[in-house]
């Protein structure tokens, strides 16, 4: 069966971009499902009416509480979940392609470790004297960690080849370890049990705190990373045989690496600072999509963005309904689904690298 799938996608360019029409309806259905399913089930008709009322002042008679749940919580939450999923999956695609490493994921560059340090610096150590929010602290920490990792990689790096990719990965490991140690240090020194538990939950990822303000940050970040990746599909393909080969095919390797890795890091930092470091999306979705649609980025980029969005919306729904009356961290769900899925792909021997 797999072979038929791969055969039919062998020359995706022959089919042009026309298949992209599936993206909006699928995404819309997923968003509606995200708004509908939960502790209180809300029928699609109510969601339509709520949207009508809010967007066009349609004046449908809708229960105020239902309308509040749909508009204030669920829709914004589903949109942010979709944006996070798309951005994390694309960051994974970019890093795996450019660093030529199957294990590369968005947190490789120290971003999640830096975000956690920023978060504890604000919430536990009291940096910023209450004027700085947890998200801002996490974003600053993530950015700082990435800048340090990138600077270390640059100082230690040689050329643009495989060696340079290895250096980036090692610098990322060093940076992650350092920032994880800082987080542990702050937690051990001054956190009480309650704070430590709160931070642990935040680290596993949660969409509970998401509101409309977050949407206005998540949507541009996701759209930017989708647009930049689509603009660079040919460059991403050109790295198939490594950075030197990409250079001989006319790619400005340094420029492309800085731009794409920078955008991947920025989008990841935005998402992490909003919802914590949700694992497995950035690692598993790109591999799963390569398995299904092939390795050409023309198809892989849109497919991964869409699959990442749907995967996170679905995981968020599951995290809300699986234990009645309780919301699990979404990272627990993505790992519980992602790890076996990844194992399955590996066992089938079809993993792309």
């Amino acid at each position: 069966m797999t072979d038929t799938v791969l055969n039919s996608t062998r020359h995706p360019r022959r089919r042009g971009w026309t298949w992209l029409w599936v993206v909006p309806p699928v995404l819309l259905v997923a968003l509606f499902a995200g708004a509908s399913i939960g502790e209180t089930h809300i029928p699609f008709s109510v969601i339509f009416q709520t949207l009508g009322n809010k967007l066009f002042d349609a004046g449908f008679p809708v229960d105020r509480i239902d309308m509040g749940i749909v508009w204030n919580y669920r829709i914004s939450r589903a949109i942010v979940a979709a944006c996070c999923g798309a951005a994390l999956a694309l960051s994974g695609v970019v890093l795996q392609a450019l660093l030529r490493n199957a294990l590369a994921d968005p947190y490789l560059l120290g971003i999640s470790a830096g975000a956690s340090t920023g978060a504890v610096a604000v919430t536990v150590a009291g940096l910023g004297a209450g004027a700085v929010s947890l998200s801002t602290g996490a974003f600053c920490g993530a950015t700082l960690a990435f800048v340090l990792v990138a600077a270390l990689a640059r100082a230690a790096g040689g050329g643009a080849g495989l060696h340079a990719a290895g250096v980036i990965i090692l610098a990322g490991i060093a940076g992650s370890q350092l920032f994880n140690a800082l987080t542990a240090f702050v937690l051990a020194k001054s956190a009480n049990a309650e704070q430590a538990r709160g931070i642990m939950f935040w680290l596993l990822g949660s969409l509970s705190g998401v509101r409309w303000e977050d949407v206005w940050l998540a949507v541009p970040a996701a759209l930017l990373s989708i647009a930049v990746c689509l603009w660079h599909i040919r460059a991403l393909d050109a790295f198939t045989f490594g950075a030197d080969s990409a250079a001989s095919l006319g790619i400005s390797v340094r420029k492309v690496q800085i731009l794409l890795i920078g955008i991947a890091a920025l989008a990841t930092a935005v998402m992490v600072s909003m919802v914590g470091s949700i694992g497995f999306v950035g690692l598993v979705i790109p591999h799963a999509m390569r398995f299904i649609v092939g390795t050409r980025h023309r198809v892989l980029v849109p497919a991964s963005a869409l699959a990442g969005a749907i995967f996170l919306i679905a995981s968020d729904i599951i995290s809300r309904v699986i234990i009645p009356g309780q919301v699990l961290p979404i990272g627990v769900i993505t790992a519980l689904v992602g790890a076996p899925a990844f194992a399955l792909i590996l066992l089938r021997g079809k993993v792309s690298r």
């Binding site: 791969l6 062998r10 020359h11 360019r13 199957a102 040689g158 050329g159 603009w231 040919r234 393909d237 050109a238 198939t240 045989f241 490594g242 030197d244 080969s245 250079a247 001989s248 095919l249 006319g250 790619i251 400005s252 390797v253 390569r290 092939g294 390795t295 050409r296 079809k350 792309s352 690298r353």
Partner: protein, 254 residues
Amino acid sequence: MILRTEKAGWATRSVPIVQDVDLEVRDGEMLGLIGPNGSGKSTLLRLLSGIRRPTSGQVLLNGEPLTGMPQRRIAQHIALVEQQSDTGDRITVRDAVELGRTPWLSALHPHSARDDTLVDKALADVDMQGFADRYWHTLSGGERQRVHIARALAQQPQVLLLDEPTNHLDIHHQLSILALVASLPVTSVVALHDLNQALECDRLAVMESGRLTCIGTPDAVLTPDRLRESFAVQGRFLTDPSDGSRILRLQRAL
């Protein structure tokens, strides 16, 4: 004279790997690059292809220095087949050859039917038409090498740089690849190990410890003295009685 170096050199951590190379590749010729292992052939080819910037001197394409020229424009003129480059991605042979069209395509000029034709032609040139839908990881070393060459041909370069292209090939395909390169209407620089194959080139350049020590016709270059000094072998020309062509018989120098 389309590709030329002026005192070109490349050093890493101030260890010179290639130094003071003055080389002029003539239009339409097939220039063989020979020399012992580690003499700097691959490094020189990287300098010529523009993927390494020289740390001293310069490389000029049609009189213009490569440094400062956009990578894309270089790739529209020069294609490089590296000694070893591999991938773990599940791509087909056709996908791999299509990569050669990269420097000619952009978001506004996507892959067209003409590109398909060029890819098909490149595959036919290296005798791999039947392999278009095969996956890369199912190919033998020699087949992969031929696909790499097809990718370089799909790039439609003026200058084709090949780093030991016959390495993994069986003898039939070694000879057909060299015959193919010789017959193509492109200028080529080919690093070679087999000195008998080097005899087929228009000119030969000898690299020794990072320096270009000699350049000229095969006859002028492959003299017994030089073979002894540069390669540590004894060489004598024998004549094939059937067609009068010459063979270089090589023995370890005593």
